[in-house]
Amino acid sequence: MVERETALLKKIDINVAESEKRSGKNTVNMQETYTVYLIEIRWVVERGGLPVGDSPWRRYSEFELLRTYLLVTYPFVVIPPLPEKRAEFVWHKLSADNLDPDFVERRRLGLENFLIRVASHSVLSKDKIFYQFLTEEKGWREAVLETGFQDKADSRLKSLSATLRVKNPDKSFTDLKQYSDELNSAISHLLRVRAKVADRMYGVYKVHGNYGRIFSEWSAIEKEMGDGLQSAGHHMDTHSASVDDILEEEEHYADQLKEYLFYTDALRSVCRKHELIQYELEMAVLDLASKKQQREELTTGAVRVFSLKGMSSKLFGQESPEQRESRLAALQQSIQASEDAVLDKNQECREFMRMSWEEVKRFKEQKDRELREALISYAIMQISMCKKVGDNMGTATCDPHHVTRTM
């Protein structure tokens, strides 16, 4: 799936090789059991294939920390998602328990996928903290906190406020936001119903298992049909058992869809960042406009708009010309600063739009390509399932004349 596009991937192989259960005290000083994953980095074969770094063990929360760091540091990038935190879209046989071995295994694959995606991104792959995450057992946590990224993070309140109040977000971003909302809705609906279909299918196959036992018992009392019934019973058992493999493969397909479901969150992040920058630009422009207006009032003495100064000067008398001069000067400086701010913000906005739009384009191409492949492999899976089950049926019946002769 991954082409070695980046310099990083040309040098190293990334593997999330194993998982292990650990016990320890958590942040509120209580004992808990959690899973850690082994990150194995090796030089590529051409470079000798030896291990690189400490081969650190990382737990899920550390992956989350890394991802948050990347989100804050590269807001214009569509950051690859992590595998789900809790098992969702489960159907009855699938466990919702985070410590369940199947869940852990699928999570291991998901984490590996995440790392490889980051490593294949032209910008993200160059990040030092990322490389440290891959290679340094100790000190990574301190290093990432030292970057101070948490201070740079936009508060949720600020972000939400911007989303609500922004006046002129770029149309392509509003469209993108709508698309990601709709895609999110479509895929989650699909996954929910898929889980129900899997559940029902499991039920049908498993009930067939009962046939096996009954045919066996029945064959004991039938002189003439005995062999045929035994054979039929055996095939029913095989048929019934085959559903486990079928549904396990389908889970991989579901995981591929889930990845893109979570990608929609990353898309929305980018849109929100745009709205925030746009909003800040709009605020800066407004700020500049109001200061200019203040200057005008001060210069002409005309009070066009109600202001506290105007009120107080009416009540307490006008100020002296010297006072006015100094105030004007301060204002002029402020205006200068504001103009610079507007220019900067404008620049930031345009840069952000340019870079993120490129990112979005790349992402869309990747999505179309990969989801198409996922659909194709889904079809292939269905075909191999039909062949396998059909063959089993076939040996039971068609030779139907074989079975019926013995029946």
Binding site: L190, R200, G203, V207, I214, W218, I221, K223, R372, L375
Partner: protein, 451 residues
């Protein structure tokens, strides 16, 4: 295909006990495989059963399916010879000369009640029928009457069961299409099997059932009800005592009947469960496919493969419906009918036991020295001899019919199971084709696809 001729030779000893009042109507031709009934069963010579029951491998006509419904026209013509072979395998009369169908259920409304009436068509080449085609209308109660009469006349023959009386089961309506159709098929099977049975097809009540326009007058006739009461009281008294020296072969049959009943009940339940699960699966599946189409509306390049998948799921859903239809219309009813048959087996064995118990009671009375007058002794001896005859004939009838029934059962169940397996095979092949077509469409770049 090797097959062996089976003949179910019923000698005089196996003559059925006739209910007295209809003997005058009998005018049966001689048939090489059937002996003429003796009007007085006690004249029958006690000879052993000579039905040649051949064990071992059985004939199976490829492609021939048990048709429980469908027009009679299909049963003529080119397939007649196959039909004959098939019938022999099923334990039927080698030359079929009576064909029946049950169809056209219609609602009949009177002041007191509403019920369903079925059209019963009969076609025959038999001389004892005045015409070659008959059309009458019968309701479920009429079928009940017929079967009751057949049981009276042939207490130890295995008569095919009728569909059950209506039981309020959940939301199933008495007049729902499904219920009526299932019942119609079962009634059809009942009549066909009865018409195929070498003894039962000669029953006068069957003839009346098939030919008389108005059955109500005939149903009122007959002493049966009160005499049956008397019989059953006596039977109950003997049942308390039970049969002493049941021949080993009937003991084996009893064990078989019990086991068979168990298995059929289990199979019936499992099949019903599968049908339920399959229905629920279909419901979910029907919602699944359209979600891909809905997603496709959001997409550009991805829209085409998404629609493709939606189409595939839709087609597979239809194949599942087909599979389900077969389960509901073929496998389930067959299993259910044989579940009811199991009860018939047990009933027939019980009746045989009663007949033997009656004889044993008479023998005991004979053996006990309580008999005083010589005249009484003679009467007792005659009665005992008569009862011994009854036991002999009941035993032979049962043994002969048991073998016949067994063949029919194996044939029917095998057919039902094999056809179900074939349907399943079909399903997987069709689904395979659907997905392969989709794959093919994805290999050619869009825009260059052929339809």
């Amino acid at each position: 295909m090797v097959w062996k001729r089976r003949s179910y030779t019923y000698t005089k000893a196996q003559a059925p006990v006739l209910s007295g009042d209809l003997e005058e109507d009998l005018d049966l031709e001689e048939d090489e495989d059937l002996e003429v009934f003796s009007k007085n069963p006690s004249l029958a010579v006690g000879s052993s059963v000579s039905s040649s029951v051949v064990q071992g491998s059985l004939v199976h006509s490829p492609g021939a399916l048990v048709r429980s419904s469908g027009s009679m026209v299909n049963q003529y013509g080119l397939e007649e010879e196959e039909e004959e072979e098939e019938e022999e395998a099923r334990g039927g009369v080698p030359t079929r000369d009576l064909f029946v169908t049950v169809d056209h259920p219609e609602s009949h409304v009177t002041a007191i009640e509403t019920f369903i009436v079925y059209r019963v068509l009969a076609r025959t080449t038999r001389g004892d029928f005045d015409s070659s085609e008959y059309e009458v209308h019968r309701r479920y109660q009429d079928f009940l009457w017929l079967r009751g009469k057949l049981e009276e006349g042939h207490p130890t023959l295995i008569i095919h069961p009728l569909p059950e009386k209506f039981v309020m089961k959940g939301l199933v309506e008495r007049f729902s299409e499904d219920f009526i159709e299932t019942r119609r098929r079962a009634l059809q099977t009942f009549l066909s099997k009865t018409a195929e049975h070498p003894m039962l097809s000669r029953s006068p009540q069957l003839k009346v059932f098939l030919t008389e326009q108005d059955l109500t007058a005939i149903k009122k006739q007959g002493p049966s009800f009160l005499s049956r009461m008397g019989d059953s009281v006596r039977a109950a008294a003997i049942a308390v005592r039970g049969v002493r020296a049941r021949p080993q072969e009937f003991g084996a049959m009893q064990d078989y009947a019990d086991e068979f009943s168990c298995k059929m009940s289990a199979l019936d339940k499992v099949t019903q469960r599968i049908i339920k699960e399959q229905n629920e699966y279909l419901e979910e599946l029907s919602q699944y496919g359209p979600l891909y189409s809905q997603w496709a509306e959001l997409e550009a390049d991805l829209s085409e493969p998404l629609r493709g998948v939606a189409g595939c799921l839709d087609l597979c859903g239809r194949e599942t419906e087909e599979q389900l239809r077969h389960l509901t219309e073929v496998l389930q009813p067959t299993l259910h009918q044989y579940l009811l048959c199991a009860d018939t087996l047990k009933t027939v064995l019980r009746r045989r036991d009663h007949i033997q118990a009656e004889f044993e009671a008479k023998n005991d009375a004979l053996a006990s020295s309580a008999v005083s007058k010589k005249g009484d002794l003679e009467t007792l001896k005659e009665e005992a001899a008569g009862l011994e005859e009854r036991v002999e004939s009941a035993n032979s009838a049962l043994k002969g019919d048991w073998a016949r029934w067994g063949d029919a059962m194996r044939y029917d169940l095998r057919e039902a199971l094999v056809s179900t397996a074939d349907k399943n095979q079909d399903y997987y092949e069709k689904c395979l084709a659907v997905w392969e077509t989709f794959l093919l469409s994805q290999k050619t770049p869009p825009g260059q696809e052929e339809d």
